[in-house]
Subunit: 214 residues, 4 copies
Amino acid sequence: MLESLKELVCKYNLYLPKYGLVTWTSGNVSARDPDTNLVVIKPSGVMYDDLTPDKMVVVDMDGNIVEGNLKPSTDTLTHLYVYKHMPHINAVVHTHSNYATAFAALGQPIKVYLTAIADEFGCEIPCGPYAQIGGEDIGKVIVEYIGESPAILLQNHGVFTIGRTVDEAVKAAVMVEDVAKTVFIAKMMGEPIEIPPEEVKRAHERYVTKYGQK
Amino acid sequence: MLESLKELVCKYNLYLPKYGLVTWTSGNVSARDPDTNLVVIKPSGVMYDDLTPDKMVVVDMDGNIVEGNLKPSTDTLTHLYVYKHMPHINAVVHTHSNYATAFAALGQPIKVYLTAIADEFGCEIPCGPYAQIGGEDIGKVIVEYIGESPAILLQNHGVFTIGRTVDEAVKAAVMVEDVAKTVFIAKMMGEPIEIPPEEVKRAHERYVTKYGQK
Amino acid sequence: MLESLKELVCKYNLYLPKYGLVTWTSGNVSARDPDTNLVVIKPSGVMYDDLTPDKMVVVDMDGNIVEGNLKPSTDTLTHLYVYKHMPHINAVVHTHSNYATAFAALGQPIKVYLTAIADEFGCEIPCGPYAQIGGEDIGKVIVEYIGESPAILLQNHGVFTIGRTVDEAVKAAVMVEDVAKTVFIAKMMGEPIEIPPEEVKRAHERYVTKYGQK
Amino acid sequence: MLESLKELVCKYNLYLPKYGLVTWTSGNVSARDPDTNLVVIKPSGVMYDDLTPDKMVVVDMDGNIVEGNLKPSTDTLTHLYVYKHMPHINAVVHTHSNYATAFAALGQPIKVYLTAIADEFGCEIPCGPYAQIGGEDIGKVIVEYIGESPAILLQNHGVFTIGRTVDEAVKAAVMVEDVAKTVFIAKMMGEPIEIPPEEVKRAHERYVTKYGQK
């Protein structure tokens, strides 16, 4: 079941090591099938080199395994909480990517110092408070604190991103690490210049309407 | 039309991820055909892994699509403004490479702390003021502020480089990131030693006349 | 003899360059065969690209070569000391991975600033005092200072990790560098928030019992 | 002529991009044939992807091209000066590797903060004064300032390393960047602990006599 979605989720899970966002077995990508409300997610603790579409796990909204021989990601309840409370979201990504997670270790957001942040995120990337892994606590923080951004930092922990499509959510995970790296380097050398909020808004609207092929 | 130039522009666009200068779909390379004054440029928002020569877009100096099924780069008008006002320039490159963009986030130039900067750039790499993406504003900043350097930083944004050939412009984009990284590391540990202007000039002249196979 | 263990040790030695933990010929992985108490270890000073299972060296607990045409790692006596004094440990890994070794150059532990540290290590990653390479001195420091952590930093030197399996020990070596990088970046920007000890304990127990497929 | 040496020099030139020490066409490796006193060196300004053994240039001790269709490296006279004044040296390597060159931008040596520095270099890695590229000036600085180290930093410029074999010289270039990176990270977080000179000497002697397969 959901064969094409399992292929897609597998492919985008493999983007996490390709873009340097994860280490060993950390990180995960899931996607929701809007027709059935079933969720396809990475199995727990499996090496990325060993991932294949048939190893993806299909769960329902209560976390029951509907298909798959492996245990789903330890973050499954987090993903499900997001899907339940954000009906327009069909994909969730989690990483501990180094530069973004460093901001999370400080409990600090990433401010809009770059046009790339204005374009992709449309506002500062928020940092939510500490929450325990495994249950619904992290999901609650995401839903409460993410605002208009497709990405959120979790204090002491890492990054969660969301999207209408898996491509959107993975792109947000890639971009948050990229801008976190640039902002880190800039902060080391001085005080980066913030882009004014009205200009951030204008740039973001231009980007979402004009950029790309749609 | 312009098949060999489309192959060249595609090949040099692929150098951007190869040299670690771009993330996801950001960045672009264009080249002008001096005979027809037509410009070949990367399509907007297409993944680098999917780029092929036939996906390059051919535009005229007014930005009209002359050939190609895809929308051209969102930075097309920037590239065209440069070509119109710098007739000796036949290639333009744009990236958000991390170290160079960090200087841009501070609105700071990269001074001549390294023989590699003297050799390749011949002067400090300037940083132009903030300008909006999509129209001619960035082009105007490039033309006004780039001076004798083949590279310029744009405040809060990234890097633009120019060249008589696409090889020259892409080399400048690769080198600006490389020297930005080294200068960043040096600045973290102390105050780097500037090379005196007359020695910069001498070294640059030697480099452009003696280095390489021409 | 021990053909499958030699294959395993060779494969996991090759993970060291794959995960960016070693340079040129530095670093090594060994594993103990619990049945015979023999140890399979990387040969000294051989390039990783040239490693094959048949180049692995088999030594007994006194360091005598039982099989193999090459000299074993210069750190062999260190590995053997650990095996003799930690009977539940069947694998030892050594690297000079950059970020972790930087903490070692300062003689500083890595505190629990990240859920990834709580999960994987269960406590701060300690730093033992300086000890000379080649004899049993480093082994003594490891046994005395490593505590409950699967990883220890050695002052001025690098990282040693241990595990019940070679997979565990190499995972610890990969994770210590990953968290050292993130903690470094965070420390550059401010004072990272420590996770309270009781929460570290709770998170670690959850991780070791719930994470993965066992 | 010197076909096997040309293959060796080509192979070791390709280690420079493999180990991340060079960008675009920068950097070069040469080796001297002790029998004929001829030197094989990388051609100037040729992309690493295009290097083949037959593109290596053979020069005599006066810099005359003895074989080869390309211009030799712009640093050829530097290499030759070293060979003339250090008869036991048969290989010279030059890079602008980022971390080591950052120390050079400050005119600072790399002190012995790591066992890897004691082992490989046996003393601090010195930094010589600024010297002009292209003539014999850099060669004079190398010979005067390198001392017992196989590597030297050149102020504002980069790294030169030497060896009895090309393997030794390239290893030194790889290791100097690796330890420069670790020392940089450590210096950012505090004051690294220096290893006392007598211990450096002891460790170095052990390493050169015990490490590896000879």
